[in-house]
Symmetry: C2
Subunit: 181 residues, 2 copies
Amino acid sequence: MITRSQVQSAQERAARMLDSVGIDISPVERQNIEVAEFGLGELERTGLELVVYVNNDRYCAKELVLFPNQTCPEHRHPPHGADPGKMETFRCRWGRVWLYVEGEETPNLQCKTPIGSEAYYTVFHEITLNPGDQYTIPPNTLHWFQAGPEGAIVSEFSSTSHDESDVFTDPRIRRIPEIAD
Amino acid sequence: MITRSQVQSAQERAARMLDSVGIDISPVERQNIEVAEFGLGELERTGLELVVYVNNDRYCAKELVLFPNQTCPEHRHPPHGADPGKMETFRCRWGRVWLYVEGEETPNLQCKTPIGSEAYYTVFHEITLNPGDQYTIPPNTLHWFQAGPEGAIVSEFSSTSHDESDVFTDPRIRRIPEIAD
């Protein structure tokens, strides 16, 4: 659960981060910045801010904004009809992000999983993305990511998004936000 | 026809434009900036510089760099097997670009078609893209675009690219460059 005022404050903070690095968004996009709070009530720690540029039946592009050390929790994009699951490329534009995917566990991880949610993080193959770096995540595979100490801005290029069907490892998570008045 | 030294000079100029607006690309991307000269031998007037971030069987993302007043000539993306033709979203990141698509002709166009090639421009519905503006072009429809006096940087989000099958109105055009030593 998140309040309208918390949503608005997070939208303004994300917009300021985009402004500060010269990524222009339209007034409508600014108003519609999506604040994914995931139902855990700890947006600063576990959350994600998104500007959806386009999402049609062929492709999708978004700008992802992460506050300092903010984590997008572990999930996968399952098959959706004839679609084998969303495939996505993360390209770091600003700041730093650590991405975790299936594969051999990296020793001495750069990140800590969010306190109290450790049980719901199970993949630990680490990829560091600095500005200009990118990585493509295959469909239907587990992944999560966390921003560095300054936060991060990441362009996501992908096949069509069906966010409502994302499968999170943490059963407490609600992808579609419930907003209190 | 274009010489290797002309290609390299255009790559360096495009990279400087990206640098100057804070769009980071990797050393490999920098080396591989595509210089589309279209076979007309007038790159400054008719041409396009591209950084291909990703092009897989589901989606594609590129950064397009246009020098001041440079024009990408009129073309369409025809069907390709089961694919109804490339669909693409242009998002202006820096500078200004005028995009021309099928539809009612706009009076008092902002652009001039390139000298000597006027016969090969046939669609004149004008869309102005400033930073933060975007427009989606349906598959298999004619379009062309020209940068403003400072040039432009445009993110292209799209379905899979098959550049070699693009159909240009100007029969002299060669999409895949022929580079002289």
